[in-house]
Symmetry: C2
Amino acid sequence: MHREAKRSLTPTIYDVAREAGVSYSTVSRTLSGYEFVKPSTREKVLRAAEKLGYVPNHQARSLAGGRSHLIGVLVPGLNNSYIGEILRGIDEALAESEYNLLLYTTHRRQGKESHYAATIMNSGVDGLLLVVPLMATPYLDTLHERDFPCVVIDQSEETQKGAVVSGTNWQGAFEATEYLIGLGHCRIGFISGLAGLTSTTERLAGYSAALAQHGLALDERLIAEGSFLQEGGYTAAQQLLALPDRPTAIFAANDLSALGAMEAVREHGLRIPKDISLVGFDDIPQASLGYPKLTTVRQPLSEMGREAANILLEEIAHPEQPRRRVTLPTKLIIRDSCCPPAG
Amino acid sequence: MHREAKRSLTPTIYDVAREAGVSYSTVSRTLSGYEFVKPSTREKVLRAAEKLGYVPNHQARSLAGGRSHLIGVLVPGLNNSYIGEILRGIDEALAESEYNLLLYTTHRRQGKESHYAATIMNSGVDGLLLVVPLMATPYLDTLHERDFPCVVIDQSEETQKGAVVSGTNWQGAFEATEYLIGLGHCRIGFISGLAGLTSTTERLAGYSAALAQHGLALDERLIAEGSFLQEGGYTAAQQLLALPDRPTAIFAANDLSALGAMEAVREHGLRIPKDISLVGFDDIPQASLGYPKLTTVRQPLSEMGREAANILLEEIAHPEQPRRRVTLPTKLIIRDSCCPPAG
DNA sequence: CTGAAAGCGCTAACAA
DNA sequence: TTGTTAGCGCTTTCAG
């Protein structure tokens, strides 16, 4: 037996074992919820652990058991309440489990993605949650190659095999556009999102489909490229407003863009919704905070996070099961940024 | 020597050692930046590691070396871009180091704070960053007791010994109030923050001091209790607006409250700044996003995060050095939510 | 149901 | 400068 002096600050299972008068493997079993431990023994162990203020050492547990109880979450950045909401959902789900959350941001170590993926895998996380991964193919390839448990949130690369959680992008965009059409708008501008993301593609498709369904021609000039960021929305709106026959309504691919557009509209001396109607996507907290309150397609962001986390946990527990793909419903939230066109 | 078959998926230092034809401790030394390794040996090791795609195992490294390269960050929640900004700063600082970020949210395990603190310490983090910890005394006691490296952001308990990073709350509030007074306002309402937080106390003190300095009486009824949340600001503003001689300006202890107040003002059919001037605190992204753009006291949130992280890293590296207390300057950002009073 | 023994992958004295 | 030897604290067979 090793360890004899060395009364360290934090007690280990050895200490608990001595206190309880059992072997340390019994302590280990008890503490990790092994069922075949005699109740009276379990009692003794638990009491001893309690008395000593024992707290398990994750590193050791992980090293020996191969399970770290750590979930990695890869986000593009933190400067965005869209991400914040998703994270909140993830955190909620994880809080109910025994898992902790290791946060990674993409902006780090750009370029060597696949090595980064390897690093993450080896940082001991049991699974990985990828939030809107851009250029994710290198990650995902490495990840899938090793059957590493992971689920992607709000993005699905064409060739992707793994689990995905997202909202009904097409449907949401379709409804929003249809709503605008129903209000009487014929020239509806669209501010797209970041190229390469499925959310961008799908929302654009939904927009186009709604126009088509209602016999409205698709005018390429009414589609301005945004970036999912406020600034992109601002610039895109400028473009749209500079058009000779400018749109009477604008549908932005996300709220941040819509908010940016709102600013541009104001600077042009136009009023919302009087002169221009505006619809966003996401329903981030600021959508209902500003003035006028933004009509938008709500995406259940935190639920998406929670759902993704739960799927991941499930996948870790039962690796054999087929990967799930979940699409959560979006919902048009009508607030104050739309009305029938002036003419 | 153990390990002979067991060609696992990820190579270990043993594999690298074999590949490089050296002992595994040499590999360990090389990889952990020990300086007295013969250059040619280092070369061989590095090449072998590269070839095998070696990635260190954090758990093992931590268990053996006592350093996990993990920093815990304890935040009250994620639903707030104030937190988001601070996190961003922390993340930036950590990205430049070799540290990863383990995220904890306070809402978990409420009640048994000190046990929670113990858990965090044993979760293997090398240090802890506490963002506006409410009811932190139990945590901090446990933490300080064991000389656990930690720094608190934007809050300093009375009896606190550890490192703290915060903004110039008093000064910022003083300036904001003075600005309002300079504009000609005499009845200035104050929406306070959450009771028990130093930021709340200090900002209130700054507000009072400015009034006093300019010979304005402190009217208790002009001080409404908020919560640092939008809703609290809304309710507090309602109160203020219901006053027989309502204020011509309101200074809210943070932007979220100010935004809430803005909504209440609007609902009362009043205009900002025409009828009521409004000043916030923090300068979160939404402050400049909405309409009108909010005049506010900017707090260098992300810098505070970055600074705190750097101090923590420093403290981990040199535990002997005295704890630092850093106060970063705030700055009044004048935008569109204030003007001289109507009368 | 419980104890003994063997590592998980790596760091850190201690020699050589 | 490099190899050898012990563990870090815990999980997990394998025997009782």
